[in-house]
């Protein structure tokens, strides 16, 4: 017979991840949520807490009734925020498509490479992770700036006569995002493409398809789970990206991560920036749930 201790130890393994999520995800979220319904004040910290833990259960209820939605209303009224959200989503979407465009042939080539080469190729994709993300994005400044490597190369080759302005534009942001998130696109695609049965293509050819038709009718639809996984893995973090737009982007680059940062540190308006963060989270929940559903469906189909 199981003792009480054994029983609870068994339960523990199930509860451990939930406890982890409770401490490191739910608690900060609740703190930010609380901040977002508080009022700004010239104080230290710069807000009047909307809720005091010490008030006790009855006090909490009183506090909740005093919550302000003014911060959220302010965000809906101010076009800067909406523009930031839309621009972030758009930049993330375009970057995702560009990443797919570059990542798919890359992953395809890797999957079709001789078996003994594949670990090396995979290593090359993962290798950049060994250097700090921040430093790698910084390195792009050196490449993209007016007197940078790219302009020098193009000038010396005679392709251009005047240096291009790339740094501090949206183009630089696209380059930065595509470069940084490419492995997240390549890895799920490679995992999918490598598993695909080559005889399916032969069967398609046998039934009258050219190589190209066979790719679009067989390989492409079968790689959909990989495409979807890769796109979400790039899109979701790219929406909230802060480092890349602030290092490579210019004044025209409107991204919500930067707005959030400015609101928090430059404006010292913690409640507004918390409300911005909460809305960002709500916006992202939609693609995250879509991603999880498609993953579940892929698992279902794989069985």
């Amino acid at each position: 017979m199981k003792t009480w201790l054994q029983y609870s130890a068994g339960r523990m393994t199930i509860w451990l991840p939930y406890i982890w999520l409770l401490i490191f995800f739910l608690t900060p979220f609740l703190l930010v949520a609380k901040l977002s319904v508080s009022e700004t004040a010239i104080a230290q910290p710069p807000y009047i807490p909307a809720m005091n833990f010490a008030d006790g259960p009855f006090g909490w209820w009183r506090d909740i009734k005093k919550f302000t939605v003014g911060n959220y209303l302010f965000i809906t009224e101010e076009s800067l925020y909406w523009k930031s959200y839309f621009s972030s989503l758009w930049i993330a979407f375009v970057s995702t498509m560009l990443t797919l465009l570059i990542g798919y042939p890359l992953a395809y080539g890797m999957a079709k490479a001789p078996r003994e080469w594949r670990p090396t190729l995979l290593m090359l994709v993962i290798l950049p992770f060994w250097t700090s993300f921040l430093i790698r994005v910084y390195a792009w400044i050196g490449i993209l700036k007016k007197e940078g490597l790219l302009n020098q190369l193009l000038l010396s080759m005679g392709v251009i006569s005047d240096p291009l302005t790339i740094l501090n534009t949206n183009v630089a942001v696209y380059i930065g995002i595509v470069y940084s998130y490419l492995p997240f696109m390549v890895l799920p695609l490679f995992a999918n493409l490598e598993k695909q049965d080559f005889t399916l293509l032969e069967a398609a050819e046998d039934l009258g398809c050219t190589r190209r038709q066979a790719f679009w009718k067989i390989t492409w639809p079968l790689s959909m789970p990989g495409v979807i996984a890769g796109c979400f893995l790039v899109f979701i973090p790219a929406v909230g990206e802060f480092v890349i737009p602030s290092l490579l982007g210019g004044s025209e680059t409107l991204m919500i991560g930067r707005t959030l940062f400015d609101e928090f540190f430059a404006n010292r308006d913690w409640p507004i920036s918390s409300a911005v963060a909460i809305i960002l989270l709500l916006i992202l929940i939609v693609p995250i749930m879509m991603f999880q559903r498609s993953e579940a469906r892929a698992r279902e189909a794989g069985r």
Partner: protein, 379 residues
């Protein structure tokens, strides 16, 4: 099946008719992969409406040969002809040939119907005709109820049927079957073999099957080609192949055979007299071109050997002791240790219902076979 097709089948021997043009012809084919020669200067003709089997152990080049016909392998030397046309410059998707793959290669993202319709859509057939043809194919393989299922919802036998229907849908002139029944269990395999024969007769298409299962090849094929290391060893109808193998390799590959080394004593009027190492004299009816003094093999299939406790009056005789008995239900196989120390197998059909064994372990027995039931093999 009506009587005329039976009659046709009895007289169906286009390979013996010099006026008949081969439908498929491999002319001096060689295929190399780096240093490895997979197919070695091979020539072979296959005739229209024939059910032809390529038989051999894995790595003998049989699959390579078939894939050349489908267009998935190029030819290093020589040429492949289909209905008199050189196939060298025809890509796989333009060949009037369809293949059924060993792994079935069903498209996992399409249901049964769409899988079967795939090739028809590809050639641009009108939708109405596609629907009709798919329905016909589903009926042909008795899979009507499963039209909407995805491949991963089918059993192995059902997948095999869908793969067959898909490869037949375009009504190819030649159907290639690569180990088509390899993944099925024994009972289902036997049933399906007979279905394949019926199907081939019904459709009048030339079938070419690759298999390593000799029973399968014997069951379905009009002619069998036995391959070894990229070469054809023998091409014959099943019965000729089994009863008159031309080498020890073929004799051993197709069924069981007892091989006893012997010396030729004399040859006269279609008879060869042999002497085994322990001095046993054997007389065999044979056209083999041998002369006295040659070392040859006396070959007899287990079912051709008669086993007795008493010495028979005539025939080729060998004596020994029962070493092992395998009771298989329909057959009993006796492994007999001859006086020379060699082991010989004899099988007896169990016709009577009986629970006792007339011949038992360590019994002294006589093995005999008539002169025309054994072979002389030289290689």
């Amino acid at each position: 099946m009506n009587n005329s097709t039976v009659a046709n089948r009895r007289t169906f021997q286009p390979w013996n008719d010099p006026k008949e043009n081969p439908f498929v012809e491999f002319r001096n084919i060689t295929k190399r992969y780096g240093d490895v020669t997979a197919v070695d200067n091979l020539s072979l003709s296959i005739y229209e409406r024939e059910f032809f089997a390529l038989l051999g152990p894995s790595g003998c080049g049989k699959t390579t040969l078939m894939r050349m016909l489908a267009g998935f392998e190029t030819v290093s030397e020589g040429a492949v002809f289909l209905a008199g046309e050189d196939l060298a410059s025809t890509p796989p998707y333009h060949r009037p040939v369809n293949m059924m793959f060993q792994s079935y290669a069903l498209f996992p993202h399409m249901n049964v119907e769409k899988n079967i319709a795939f090739g028809l859509k590809q050639e641009g057939m009108p939708t109405g005709e596609i629907t009709d043809r798919v329905a016909k194919m589903l009926a042909l393989v008795k899979m009507e109820e499963f039209a909407k299922r995805k491949p991963n919802q089918l059993s192995g036998g059902q997948k095999q049927r869908v793969a067959l229907a898909r490869s037949l849908a375009k009504q190819p002139k030649l159907l290639l079957l690569d180990e088509p029944l390899g993944a099925l269990d024994r009972k289902l395999r036997e049933e399906t073999q007979f279905e394949l024969i019926d199907l081939q007769e019904q459709l009048g298409i030339t079938f070419m099957i690759v298999t390593h299962d000799q029973e399968e090849a014997m069951t379905v094929a009009d002619r069998i080609a036995v391959m070894d290391r990229g070469r054809l060893v023998q091409v014959d109808p099943p019965m000729a192949m089994y009863e008159r193998p031309r080498s020890r390799y073929v004799a051993d590959f197709l069924g069981n055979i007892n091989l006893i080394e012997a010396k030729v004593q004399n040859v006269s009027k279609g008879f060869v007299r042999l002497e085994t190492k322990d001095g046993n004299s054997l007389l065999v009816e044979s056209e083999a071109s041998v002369s006295s003094g040659d070392t040859v093999w006396f070959a007899a299939r287990p079912e051709k050997l008669q086993i007795d406790l008493k010495k028979p009056k005539s025939g080729n005789l060998m004596s020994g002791e029962v070493w092992d008995i395998a009771y298989l239900g329909d057959l009993t196989i006796y492994k007999v240790k001859l006086d020379s120390g060699e082991y010989v197998k004899a099988s007896v059909l169990n016709r009577a219902v009986s629970s006792d064994r007339p011949i038992s372990w360590e019994d002294k027995v006589w093995l005999s076979c008539p002169n025309d039931a054994a072979l002389v093999l030289t290689s």
